[in-house]
Amino acid sequence: MPTVSVDKANFFKSLGKDYTTQEFDELCFQFGIELDDDTTEECRKAGNGERPQLKIDIPANRYDLLCHEGIARALLVFLGKMKQPDIKVMQPKEMLEIHVDDQVSKIRPTILGAVLRNVTFTPENYASFIDLQDKLHQNLGRRRTLVSMGTHDLDTIKAPFSYKGLAPKDVKFAPLNRPGQVMDGPTLMTTLEQDKHLSKYLSIIRDSPVYPVVLDAEETVCSLPPVINGDHSKITLNTKNVLIDMTGTDETRCSHALAELVSMFAEYCGEKFSVEPVKIVHSDGKSLITPDLSPRVATCRLSYINSCTGLDLDVPTTIKLLERMGHSATQSPQSPDVLQVSIPATRPDVLHECDLMEDVAVAYGFDHLPRRFPSTNTVAAPLPINKLSDVLRREFAYAGWVEALSLILCSHDEAYKQLRRPDPGSEAILLENPKSLEYQMVRTTLLPGLLKTLRENRKHSLPWRLFEVSDVARQDAEDLERCAKNERRAVASYSDREAKFEVVHGLLGRVMRVLDVPYLQGGREAASSSSSSAGKKESGHAGRDKGGYWIEESDDPTFMPGRAAVVKFRTPVREQEEKEEANQQQIKAPATGDDVDAAKRAAPTASATDVEKHLGDADKKQQSSSSSSKDSAISAISNLASKLHLGGRKGGEVITVGQLGVLHPEVLAAFGLDWPTAVLELQVEPFL
C-alpha cells in the first residue's frame, strides 16, 4: 500500500478547512484511505522548523490518489465542494510528433507523450510533480519495468522527436545532474552502478542489444528509459512547457500512467485542466494521438447496486452518490434500470459495474448500510483428518506430552544431513527464492522442528516430553495440478538421562489403543494369516476385522543401530468391502486385476461413509434440518478430499505407518542436544 506525504497546512488549505487530526482521520476512514501519521507533534518536539506532514495510506489500485493534488481533488468531490473537473485535450495548430523506430520493439515497444503548456511551478507543486512520477514508477510501473516516464523542458529541445533503439555504444549523452559528463551506454551503466537510487533499474535494459532512447530533432538524447533523463532537457522551477515521454512494455499501464500524470498537473497549466497532445508516428505509417483522456462510458444497473448493497436507492440518489465518487451518470433512455456512467480516465481501477456499486456504497457510507444476517442454512462438518488430528493431540496431552508448533519451512541440512538421511531427490519441495538459509524447503518430517524446539528449551527440567501433529509435504508425481501433497504426521519425543525406548514405545501403544487398533502378537506372521488374524479375534464387532499393528526392527541412520523400529499397520476391512468380497466369492469372478479395481472403488465409498458419519454428528449439534443446501459444501469437500488421497485404502493391506527409536548421538549433536532422546513419528491418514 503506497503512502503519500503531503504538507499539512497546504493540504488543508486545498481542502478549504482546517481539520483537527481526528476529524481528518474520520474523513479518510469514510473515503477509504488511511491517515497513517500526522507529524505535527514530532515537528513541535524537534523544534527544527520542519513543516508538519500528513502521511496517508492509499489503496494500491487508486493511482489517482498518489499526490497532494489527486487526494485533495477526490476529497473535495467526495464532500460535494467541487465538481470532478473535465481534463481537456487541446487542438494545437501544429501537433508535436514522436517518430518510433522498429528497433525499440526488441526492448521497450511502447511510447506515449503529452505536453503541459505554461505551467506555473512552485517549490511545493514541483516536489509533488517529481514525487508523483516516482510513485507511478513504483506502483503502476512495477519499479519501472512496465512503465517509466521522462519529463523535459520543451523549450530546450526541438521537435520532431524520435524514439529509437540504439546500440549501447552509440548512446552518448550527459545524464541528468552530471552536466558535461558525456558518456556512452556501457560507461553509463558502470557509472550508475554506484548510484543507490538508480542502480536497481539498470538490469531492465542492461543486456539488451539495443537501448531505447528518446531523441530530439538534433539527435540530443532526452532520455534513456527506464534509467535516466538527459541533463540537457532537465526541468527546473522556471520551466514553462513540459514534454512528457511515457515508455514501457505494457501499453495499457503506460496509458493509465500518462492520464494520471497530466490530469493531476494540468491544474497548473496556463489554460487550467488542459493538456496538449502528442502524435506518435510508427514506421508503418500508423499513428496515435496521446493522451487519451476521454471518460469511459459504462452501464450500471440500479437493481444490481441495490441487490448487492441491500439498499433501495432511486435513480437521482444513485447519480448523486456516483458524482461524489467522481463519476457522472444519466438514466438510460431505453431502460429505466440502467445508468450510463461516465468514468474519468484517472479511474482505471473501475473494471466492472461492481466497482461502481462499491463507489455508491462508499459514498452512502458503509456504516449506514442496513445490517442483515444471511439466511443461508447449512449443516457444519469438520474435515475428517483435522478431527482425527484433534483426537490424537488431546491424547498426547492427556499422556503428559506438551505440544510444539514448529515452522513448516526448514533448511535442507536440517531435513537430511543433520538427521543422517540421504536426500532421495524428487522428494523435497525446494524453494526458489528464500530470503534466508533457514527456509530452503518444506519439511518432509516433523523431526527437525521438534528437535529445534528442544534445543531452544535446554533449561527446562527433565524429562522432556514434546509432540506435534501437523503436515509435512512432498513432491507427488500423480497430482498433476499441484505436483505435491501434504501428509499429516504425529511426532512425539522423550528426552531424559536415559533414552528409555520403552516410553515412546508405550506412547505408541497408548495411541493405538485410543485408535482402537489392536496389537498383533507375532507381527508379520499374524498379519499374513489373512482375515482369521488376531485383530479379528480381539475386535468387539461380530467378526469384523479391525486390522492391527506391530513393530519391526529397522535399520535407519537417524537412529542408534539396533534401537530403531518401523510401525507396521494392517488396514481394517470395512463392512462395504466385506460385502463386496462375499459377492465376488458368490459369483466366483476371476481374481486377476480385481484387487486394483476394488481399491479404486473403495476410495470414494470410504470417504463418503466418513462424511455421512460426521454429518450425523453435526446434525445433533446443529438441530437445523430444513436445509436446501445440506450437503453442498460437504460433497464438494469430500470430492476434493478424495482427490487428495484421504482415506480409502483397501482392507487387509500391510503398510508402514511410522517409525520409532533412539536418536543417533550424531543427530543429537547436530541439533545441539545433550540428553538421550527417543522419538516416534506416525502418519495419521492411514487411521482415518
Binding site: R142, T378, A380, A397, L407, L430, W464, R482, S632
Partner: protein
C-alpha cells in the same frame, strides 16, 4: 532437673539443650541468646585476618544452628522467639594494612622532613612510599592540614608549618574495630566504610520464651495421615505437624496443548456453531493459477513478486490446469471476456499461471472449493465454508512477521446476499470472540469488491485497530468458475496469531510460533474461552 550441660565452642546447640536452657531461665525467658555461650576467645594475633574472620563465623554459625531449632520448636508452639541483629564491622585487606603500618597520610607525614620549610619532591616520595600510598596520603594529609605543596619548590611537598606531631586517628580507629568490632562514634565508622577500610557484618541473636506447648521432650509429629494410622487407629492420638497453608501445592505433571491451537479450537467452534464446513487446506503447494489467477489477481500484481511469494524450484510448474476454466480466466484477465468487465488489458501468460508457489493465502483453497461448488453434479447449492491453516509469505522475519502464519478464513455463497449481510454477519461472528464495537473501512483487494477492512475499538490503545479483512468476491472471479448470475460470495479473513498475541499478552510472534517458543510458557498458558 540437672543443670544445663556446658556447650563448648566446637559443638553446636541441640534442640533438647535449647529447651533445657529456656526451662532454666524461668518465666522471663532468655533475653539474649548470645549470653548462653559468651564469646569465643579472641585470636592471639589480631593481625591475622583469617583467624578474625573465623572468630566471627563461629559466632554466626552457632546462632544459625540455634535459629534452626527455634523455628522448628516454634512451629510446635513449644517456644516463642524474636530475632535481633548485632551489627559489627570487620577490616578489609586495606584496613588491615593501615592497622598494621599506619594510614597513608601518616606515612606521608612521617616521610616528610620535619619543620615545614624543607620539602621532598613527589618523585622521591613516590619512590619511598609507592604511587598508591602517595596519592591517597596526599589527599588526606592536605584535608587534615598535615601537609601542603611547598610554596616555592615546584612538585614538592612539605609538612604544614607548626604541625610537629600528629595522631593517626584512622589507624587507631581501625585497631579498635579490629579488637571490638565497632566504634563509639558511628559517623567515623561511616567514614571508614566510605573509604572501603571496613565492611559491615551482621550477626543474628534471639530472645526466647516458653510457648503454650512447652515441654522438655520433643514428640515426633506426624507429617501426614497414613494408611497404617487408619489401620492401627493411631490417628486418634498421634499429634500432627501443623500444615503451612501458605505453601504452594505440588503441581501435577501434565501435558499441554499449544496456546495458538487452543485459540484455533475456539475459532473452529465458532464456525461450527454457525454452520460452516471445514475446507481441505492440507496442501501447501498450489499453482499460481489457483493462488492468484483464479482469484482475478493480475499477473503483474505486487503480491506475486519474488519479494512476497515463495516460488518453488522443484517441482516448478503445474502439469495440468482445467483447460476450459483456464480459458475463461484468461479472458477475464485480458479483456473481461463475457463477464461485463474491461479486464486488466494485458497478455495473460500460461507460464506464469503454471508456476507453483507456497500458497500465500488459504483463499487459494477457497477458490478451488467454489469451483467445485459451481461444478458439482446437480448444480450450485448455497454453502458456508471455513478454514484455519498455515500460509506463507516471503517476508523478512521480525517481532510481528514470520514467513508463515495461520489464516482464518470464512466464505458464504448464496443467492441474494448483500453487503449488509456481510456487515451483519461480521458483527455476530466477532461478537462470539467478544469483539463488539466494529466499523468498516472501504479498502482494496484484487478479488473482492467491495472490500471492507474491519476495525474494532481497542480500549487499551484508545483507538480503532484493524482486526480483519472482508468483502464480496468479484464477478470476474465467480462467473468464470461457473457460479450462476445472482450468486454472491462473501469472504473474510484474519490472522490467528494476532488475536492470540492479544489474548496472551505476547509481543514477539517468535515466542508463539516456531521453535523459539518456551515449553514452560506452553505448560502455563491459561485456557481460552471466547465469551
Amino acid at each position: 532437673m540437672s543443670a544445663p550441660a556446658q556447650v563448648a565452642w566446637d559443638s553446636l546447640p541441640t534442640a533438647e539443650w535449647t529447651l533445657q536452657q529456656v526451662d532454666a531461665a524461668g518465666s522471663s525467658g532468655i533475653p539474649d541468646s548470645r549470653e548462653l555461650v559468651g564469646r569465643p576467645p579472641m585470636p592471639a594475633n589480631l593481625e591475622d585476618e583469617k583467624s578474625l574472620d573465623e572468630h566471627h563465623k563461629r559466632r554466626a554459625d552457632w546462632q544459625m544452628a540455634l535459629q534452626g531449632h527455634l523455628k522448628s520448636l516454634e512451629a510446635r508452639q513449644m517456644i516463642e522467639f524474636q530475632s535481633h541483629d548485632e551489627i559489627t564491622y570487620a577490616l578489609t585487606a586495606e584496613g588491615y594494612g593501615i592497622a598494621h603500618s599506619g594510614s597513608q597520610e601518616a606515612r606521608l607525614f612521617a616521610a616528610l622532613p620535619p619543620g615545614g620549610d624543607e620539602a621532598k619532591t613527589l618523585d622521591e616520595l613516590k619512590k619511598e612510599l609507592g604511587a598508591d600510598v602517595l596519592k591517597i596520603g596526599q589527599g588526606k594529609a592536605f584535608a587534615k592540614r598535615w601537609a601542603r605543596k611547598h610554596p616555592e619548590k615546584q612538585g614538592a611537598l612539605a609538612r604544614m608549618p607548626g604541625v610537629e606531631e600528629i595522631v593517626d586517628d584512622t589507624a587507631e580507629d581501625l585497631r579498635e574495630i579490629r579488637r571490638s568490632g565497632t566504634l563509639q562514634d558511628g559517623q567515623r565508622v561511616n567514614d571508614l566504610k566510605k573509604r572501603k577500610l571496613v565492611v559491615q557484618k551482621k550477626l543474628l541473636w534471639f530472645s526466647i520464651t516458653k510457648g503454650p506447648q512447652f515441654s522438655l521432650k520433643i514428640e515426633k509429629l506426624a507429617t501426614d495421615l497414613s494408611a497404617e494410622m487408619l489401620q492401627s487407629g493411631e490417628w486418634k492420638t498421634r499429634p500432627f505437624k501443623k500444615y503451612n497453608f501458605d505453601a504452594e501445592g505440588v503441581m501435577p505433571v501434565t501435558g499441554a496443548l499449544h496456546p495458538l491451537l487452543k485459540v484455533r479450537e475456539e475459532f473452529r467452534n465458532i464456525f461450527f456453531e454457525m454452520g460452516f464446513t471445514e475446507m481441505p487446506t492440507n496442501r501447501f503447494v498450489d499453482s499460481s493459477f489457483w493462488c492468484f489467477d483464479s482469484l482475478f489477481v493480475p499477473q503483474q500484481h505486487a503480491a506475486r513478486d519474488m519479494q512476497d511469494t515463495f516460488f518453488i524450484k522443484s517441482p516448478a510448474a503445474a502439469k495440468h490446469i482445467p483447460e476450459d476454466y483456464l480459458s475463461r480466466v484468461t479472458a477475464a484477465h485480458e479483456d473481461g471476456g463475457p463477464y461485463g468487465s474491461t479486464g486488466y488489458g494485458y497478455k495473460f501468460s500460461r507460464d506464469v499461471t503454471e508456476k507453483l508457489v507456497l500458497r500465500t493465502h488459504t483463499t487459494a483453497v477457497s477458490a478451488a472449493m467454489l469451483y467445485e461448488l459451481a461444478n458439482r453434479p446437480g448444480g450450485f447449492k448455497p454453502a458456508k465454508m471455513f478454514s484455519i491453516d498455515r500460509v506463507f509469505r516471503n517476508e523478512a522475519v521480525d517481532a510481528t512477521h514470520l514467513a508463515e502464519f495461520h489464516q482464518v478464513e470464512g466464505v458464504v455463497a448464496d443467492y441474494n446476499i448483500t453487503l449488509g449481510d456481510l456487515i451483519g454477519f461480521m458483527q455476530i461472528f466477532f461478537a462470539k470472540m467478544g469483539v463488539t464495537n466494529l466499523r468498516f473501512k472501504p479498502a482494496y483487494n484484487p478479488y473482492t469488491e467491495p472490500s471492507l477492512e474491519i476495525f474494532s475499538y481497542h480500549s487499551g490503545l484508545g483507538k480503532w485497530v484493524e482486526i480483519g479483512n472482508s468483502g464480496m468476491f468479484r464477478p470476474e472471479m465467480l462467473r468464470p468458475m461457473g457460479l450462476p448470475e445472482g450468486v454472491n460470495v462473501l469472504g473474510w479473513g484474519l490472522s490467528l496469531e494476532r488475536p492470540t498475541m492479544i489474548r496472551y499478552g505476547i509481543n514477539n510472534i517468535r515466542d508463539l510460533v516456531g521453535h523459539k517458543i518456551s515449553i514452560t510458557d506452553v505448560e502455563r498458558a491459561p485456557a481460552v474461552r471466547f465469551p
